[in-house]
Amino acid sequence: MEPILEAINLSKRFGGLVAVSDVSLKVETGEIKAIIGPNGAGKTTIFNAITGVDPPTAGEIRFKGQKLNGLKPYEIASQGISRTFQNVELFDNMSVLENVMVGRHPRTFSGLLSAVFHLPKAIAEEKAIRDDAMERLAFVGLSSSAQELASKLPFGQQRVLELARAWATDPELLLLDEPAAGLNSHEATVLADLILKIREKGTTILLVEHDMELVMDISDEIIVLNYGKKIAEGKPEEIQDNQEVIKAYLGEDFKGR
């Protein structure tokens, strides 16, 4: 079967710095794939390239066989790729519910005029958006805070909310950038469950994460980056034993021992 996402020879330079160098990767439909690597390895840069936030310097990105290069971020999102951010990017001055409601944007249609004139179809759609968003909040366990300001949530719940918002776009592919960063181990377990449940519902997941326990637990496949280059790829067990990877994480000094 055709992979849902395919990146071919992706490179990204920032001036003289090569943040990503000639990386190719494939994500198969329905899997959970993780990208790991030390700080500054280029993981977020790859996410930004896929989602059109910061297009790659070279290389091609295909989603379900279609080229994504040159599309705007919102177009890519509408095609069915959603994401979360390493430094939580919630709509701070909106309620928890409203945050998720924005997530329904690419799956709904009412425009400015139907809003201004309060047309029946806009009213009906608005209700549908609200109901759908409430359901998703219930699914992730945030119903009780629906009316609170997003910025007032404890940090762990903010991460969950961001996940719910991204998932509300009904993505076929969901990119999660360090979803467990800053969470305690209990919160991380809850989050891992949630990710698995979302996958069950038919969303493919590409995950960047430093929490190795979580990565090894839930991923089907892992890609390892170091200094912008892909140094390994395989099943969690294979990665755990890979000498290159151990070296990248523990440093050159370790080699002799």
């Binding site: 509408s78 809003a115 608005e126």
Partner: protein
């Protein structure tokens, strides 16, 4: 609503009604500006230009082309919308200081053009004899009639705006304000919505401009300068820009303020300046934000 209807019955004095008429005209603009600044988070320091486009288009078409006010009014809206659209596309790509300066520059260019194209606009001395609005053989001439017309429009525009705010598009606008990055990632076409709300607010300003031209029957560039743009922003900020009601409150207060300060006629600019400064420093959410805070404190007790 009730206050609006009751007010002219209590207050027969045409002078006060006149002030209320101006309050209505300003409100039309500031409601739009609050959508743009408070909801979508995009500043404009050039809205006087759209007010001017409305006023001059209506004025010129009715005096020189002898059109009747209604078609001229519609033409003004279309023209203003087109200008706002064309200027909005490159301008709204800018952010922060750059956006502020670009809109400021645009406003000044229009101001210079109004002064310079003497044949068309009468130059610095402006032009007069703009006909009054007539609906059939009912001429809008008394302050009361003007009052009714303006405030009817304000109510309509306000309803439209409230509808917008509580809609999918309104939510999209607020998401842009909060995080453009995340809004884009949620499939919100940020540039489209920014331009749409910019054009909408320009149309509101154009409506206000047309009314202004027909009410005062004489217009000159002096009414459309930088200071006016800044006054509009001040009204929105003082009231509290995160809310249309705040914008309305600010407009009411700042229209009345000079009336209470009659003795200081020329120094109202100083008073605007210090009001703006104090509000920004001590209550950046504006008066409406303060009201809201007090209410929530009371609610908790």
């Amino acid at each position: 609503m009730l206050v609006l209807v009751a007010l002219p019955m209590v207050m027969r004095n045409p002078y006060y009604l006149g002030i209320m008429v101006f309050m209505g005209i300003y409100s039309l603009i500031t409601i739009g500006l609050s959508l743009l600044m408070g909801y979508a988070g995009q500043i404009s320091l050039g809205h006087a230009a759209f007010f001017a486009t409305g006023a001059y288009t209506s004025g010129i078409l009715t005096t020189k082309a002898h059109l009747s006010p209604l078609p001229a009014f519609l033409a003004a809206i279309v023209l203003t919308a087109c200008i706002a659209f064309l200027i909005g596309i490159p301008t709204l790509r800018l952010k922060g200081h750059y956006l502020a300066m670009a809109t400021l520059g645009f406003g000044q260019i229009v101001y210079v053009a109004l002064n310079a194209s003497v044949d068309f606009t009468g130059g610095p001395s402006g032009f007069g004899e703009i006909p009054r609005i007539a609906l059939g053989n009912l001429v809008v001439e008394s302050q009361l009639a003007r009052y009714c017309l303006v405030w009817a429009l304000v109510v309509i525009v306000l309803l439209f705006s409230l509808n917008l705010i509580h809609s999918r598009v309104g939510r999209a606008l607020r998401s842009i304000h909060s995080s453009e990055l995340a809004a884009n990632a949620m499939g919100v076409n940020t540039s489209k919505y920014k331009i749409q709300v910019f054009v909408l607010s320009a149309i509101y300003a154009s409506i206000a401009g047309s009314l202004y031209a027909h009410f005062v029957t004489f217009i000159s560039p002096g009414s459309f300068d930088l200071e006016f743009s800044i006054l509009l922003v001040t009204m929105v900020v003082v009231g509290g820009m995160a809310n249309v009601w705040g914008a309305l409150l600010g407009t009411v207060l700042l229209t009345l303020l000079p009336e209470f300060l009659r003795g200081f006629k020329d120094y109202d600019i100083l008073i605007y300046g210090s009001t703006l400064l104090l509000i920004m420093i001590f209550m950046p959410e504006g008066l409406f934000g303060l009201v809201k805070k007090l209410r929530s404190v009371r609610g908790r007790m």
